[in-house]
């Protein structure tokens, strides 16, 4: 069944679209209790005491627990999965992160107590009677302010609020190259803080089996095995054999559901205490103040160019907000997923990057769609555009001059990565053509006649996906391997279960993986069932993030299929009385080469389970497991071109065209890939134009805590996207795939911002920070029209 490359409709959509998905909140267990989490209303406060006496007497209350109760029971803190070292070799500050804050609350939304009752209403009512004696302390929400002397301090373990001061590259070489450069372009920019806003809020149900002592956690996770490991080993001290984690249908994650969250540990622990299941579901307003946020960088960048406009050096200095605690993978985002990407698609010979990670009284910040790579791409593509502006060169031409040439692969960048393949020039030309770049100036003039400022902006990007070679990430501080596992279970009658450690929360694995298996095993896709999201079913798994499912999880499936075919060949050779070496496998049949004698996969499977006539020394059964550890990252790349119109009177932006040309390696299902790109672009355009998480600078209160104040992109904010691909294959995984999940969110912010700046260039504007809201643009336009007007 040749299905690779076909736009097969997503098989999971029927159940999703007809309301038959099975999400965590759809699950209810017998005798279930409900948890309500009491959260700090203060950004920073000492907790002098918590009086639960009145609440404990309220109707329906089963238990109320505080941080002290959990601590007294030996519950550990939430662990951090990545250790980054500072310039001086010292490890990052890694202060404790208790599931319930015991002596101090460090951000609005920090959990301080849990009320568990027969109904959710009763839990909520009783929570109102819990009296927390807070002593409010000065708070700091801005990462730059947090580093200043005299700033409020979050942790004794992190003097000056500094988590680490990391760097990569040779500062002396970069300074020398910048000094010798014909021109140095400089820019200060902010990468705005984002709230992830998955459609399904987080939820968790903890359950304890009195008969066996087994725990089960149902949770909205992108990686149930990782949660089992982290929560079992570090927080609750439950052996993996006694802990099952199920992540059923999950409605979007974008990174925010990778991490081990306090609520998972709280409900699991409480279920053990109370001997009853405990369920918690986030309210939307809780999601705003408890899901890990994204981005939040403040950066200074300098790019040196020689006389021929070749980049000679790049120097980047970033302050990255970690929030009030270290989330699971937070430290690696503004370092190894950011600094290592700063070569981009260019031949810049020397690069230096330093990142100071800072604690502030805000929700923890961690990976969000793209994770470090959008931040790297944004600064790189902004400074390249600014350079083109300063030297008066077409930004497309400046990029062409500096692209890594196609004959340079494998290409070693000065920031540790080795790109295996790519063709950035052709990709850009495809995009320029599709966007009618040459015809733009006429469109600009037409728009102006209608009072609209029209601009066009290019961004090229490269991302490191397919996370990740375990030895490499281990040497960089990861406390986990990043391989993937898969099991192919061929049943006696020939249907196949594929058990994958990847987790689908919108990506369409049930379709793509089934295509992959149907294609390789030569059976109908309907005979293939994809199983994921349950630690009791799946051998092991590292989950889905970093555009890794197909590149790593898919490769593990290929390896497991190879084992199935190898064993099947032995069985077929025995049945066909041929030498194993003469048996070929194609289209679902084992055939003796050059003959018409063959056995189908089904016949071979039946023989494996009913081994009456069977090779000596061969185990029965046809059930193979494989682990795949990638040899390198994959490097998807692309060129995105945005065209915008700004209404000069209102500052409102319309994205009138958006063209993306991407290299994702081999594509299994083009329709799913387009869907992934659409979603990524919507989020990237959202970041550029609409979304911005705002904290009150003095009080640390979250001011954009609902959809009243936090603007998400809607369909009418987006144009119809023009998409194309320019494929070069990944050279080191068996499928030649690179990954497509994050590309849109990586390329779009810079493309949109470059287009806005291009539109405003006639007024003398050279940079706009995101989100470029109508108000911000209107003020800019007013200021530049009438330098003394507006404030």
């Amino acid at each position: 069944m040749a299905t690779i490359g076909t736009a097969v409709k997503r098989r999971e959509d029927f159940r999703f679209l007809t309301g038959q998905g099975n999400y965590t909140d759809d699950i209810n267990r017998p005798r279930q209790l409900y948890a309500y989490i009491l959260r700090s209303p203060h950004a920073h406060a000492r907790i002098n005491g918590i009086d639960i006496s009145a609440a404990a007497r309220a109707p329906g209350v089963a238990a109320i627990y505080t941080g002290k109760d959990m601590m007294a029971d030996g519950v550990g803190g939430l662990p951090c999965g990545w250790q980054v070292h500072s310039k001086d070799g010292s490890p990052m500050a890694e202060p404790p992160h208790p599931p319930l804050a015991a002596d101090r609350a460090r951000h609005v939304g920090d959990p301080v107590a849990v009320v568990i009752a027969e109904t959710l209403e009763e839990a909520r009512e009783a929570a109102d009677l819990v009296n927390v004696d807070y002593a409010e302390e000065p708070a700091v929400a801005d990462p730059v302010e947090a580093l200043k002397p005299g700033a409020p301090q979050l942790f004794a373990e992190a003097p000056g609020n500094l988590c680490y001061d990391w760097h990569l590259g040779d500062p002396a070489a970069v300074d020398a190259a910048l000094t010798a450069a014909a021109r140095v372009v400089k820019l200060d920019l902010v990468n705005n803080r984002l709230v992830p806003n998955a459609m399904e809020p987080r939820a968790a149900i903890g359950e304890y089996d009195r008969a066996t002592g087994d725990y089960t956690l149902f949770t909205t996770s992108q990686n149930p095995h990782v949660i089992r490991l982290l929560m079992g080993a570090f927080v609750l001290h439950i052996p993996e054999s006694k802990l099952r984690v199920v992540a059923p249908d999950v409605g979007g994650g974008f990174g925010s559901k990778i991490y081990h969250y306090a609520e998972e540990a709280i409900v699991t622990w409480a279920a053990g205490k109370l001997r009853r299941p405990v369920k918690w579901t986030a309210e939307r307003s809780e999601s705003f103040m408890s899901d890990a946020h994204g981005r939040d960088h403040v950066t200074h960048v300098e790019l040196g160019l020689d006389q021929q406009a070749k980049f000679v050096a790049l120097k980047v200095s970033t302050i990255a907000n970690m929030g009030g605690y270290l989330s699971t993978f937070a430290p690696c985002i503004p370092t190894y997923l950011y600094g290592t990407l700063l070569a981009g698609t260019y031949t810049t010979p020397v690069i230096y990057v330093e990142t100071k990670a800072v604690f502030t009284n805000t929700v923890p910040v961690d990976a969000y769609r793209g994770a470090g790579r959008p931040e790297a791409t944004f600064l790189l593509e902004r400074i390249v555009d600014l350079a083109a502006d300063e030297i008066g060169m077409d930004p497309a031409e400046l990029r062409r001059r500096n692209f890594i040439p196609t004959d340079a692969y494998p290409y070693q960048t000065p920031v540790a990565l080795q790109y295996d393949s790519g063709d950035y020039g052709t990709t850009l030309e495809k995009a320029l053509q599709a966007a009618d770049y040459a015809g733009f100036e006429a469109r600009r003039r037409d728009a102006l006649a209608h009072g609209k400022l029209r601009g066009i902006g290019i961004a090229t990007y490269i991302e490191a996906c397919g996370l990740a070679p375990s030895a490499v990430v281990g040497s960089l501080g990861a406390r986990a391997g990043l391989y993937e596992s898969a099991a192919i279970r061929v049943h006696p009658t020939g249907s196949v279960s594929v058990l994958t450690g990847s987790h689908s929360h919108g990506q369409g694995h049930e379709t793509t993986f089934a295509q992959l298996v149907a294609d390789r095993l030569g059976i109908p896709a309907e005979s293939v069932e994809i199983v994921h999201g349950d630690t009791d079913k799946i051998p092991y798994g590292m989950g889905t993030y970093g555009s890794r499912s197909l590149a790593v999880g898919g490769s593990a499936i290929v390896k497991a299929m190879d084992k199935v075919v190898a064993k099947g060949r032995k069985i077929a050779a025995h049945l066909l009385e041929a030498a194993e070496a003469d048996v070929e496998f194609e289209d679902g049949k084992f055939t003796v080469a050059g003959t018409d004698r063959s056995k189908t996969l089904g016949e071979v499977a039946l023989t494996a389970y009913v081994p009456h006539n069977y090779p000596e020394d061969l185990e029965p059964g046809l059930d193979e497991t494989a682990f795949y550890d990638p040899k390198n990252f994959t490097f998807p790349s692309g060129a995105h071109i945005a065209e915008v119109e700004i209404d000069a009177e209102t500052g409102r932006t319309s994205v009138v065209r958006f063209t993306a040309s991407d290299d994702f390696g081999r594509i299994i299902n083009p329709m799913i890939v387009e869907g992934q790109v659409h979603g990524g672009l919507a989020q990237g355009i959202g970041q550029a134009l609409l979304e911005g998480c705002v904290y009150d600078k003095e009080t640390g209160q979250l001011l954009t805590g609902s959809y009243n104040d936090y603007a998400m992109p809607r369909a009418d904010d987006l144009p119809s996207f023009s998409l194309s691909t320019n494929t070069t294959l990944c050279t080191h995984n068996p499928l030649g795939v690179k990954g497509c999940g994050e590309a849109g969110a990586i390329g779009a912010p810079a493309a949109i911002t470059n287009a806005l700046v291009d539109a405003l260039k006639p007024l003398g504007v050279h940079h706009v920070d995101m989100p470029a809201t109508p108000e911000k643009l209107w003020r800019l336009i007013q200021q530049h029209r009438h330098p003394l007007a507006a404030d």
Binding site: P41, V108, S285, N708
Partner: protein, 210 residues
Amino acid sequence: MEMTGEFHIPASRERVWEALNDPEILKQCIPGCETIEKVSPTEFTAKVVAKVGPVRASFGGKVNLSDLDPPKGYTISGEGSGGVAGFAKGSAKVDLDEEGAHTTLLKYAVQAHVGGKLAQIGSRLIDATSRKMAADFFERFAGAVAPAPAAEPAPQAAPTPAEPAPEPAEPSPEAAKPKDLRLPPVLWVTGLAAIVGAMLYFFTGRRVTR
């Protein structure tokens, strides 16, 4: 949030003064006020059950006085806790001007902060809600202190029972003390009205205490 306003109260300053010291009158004027207690000369607590439509919620409020300058002005700092909804706190500067024998001008300037869910869900809506709550309070208050149809005697009758002493002109430093005790409610009421108003909005649709 910042809010200023003024109200003409159809009563003498002394009458306003007395009324603001009368817990019974305050209870009548603050919607849903259950108790007001004087904890110390500069500290008061109150419990208010506020109700908007089907939503009822109980708030605890605490108020401290400072910058006492009777009878010209005072600053009052207040804090109200709405449980899981978060908190509101603020300060108000209040001035009482004698406009005539039977009119007093009360001016106030409130600064308030809200936190937790209150700040998260509707910082932008607090102004309007608070303004309305303050207006409601003063409307009731004016009604409560306005002379009854048998007007004139009332204001004079009021002081008789207790201590009519400090009424004329400059109070001595000693006399100021008892005044301090009396003034706080002005500010407190203004502040709390604003705070409660702000909180109420956010409770709508959220929690129903019965």
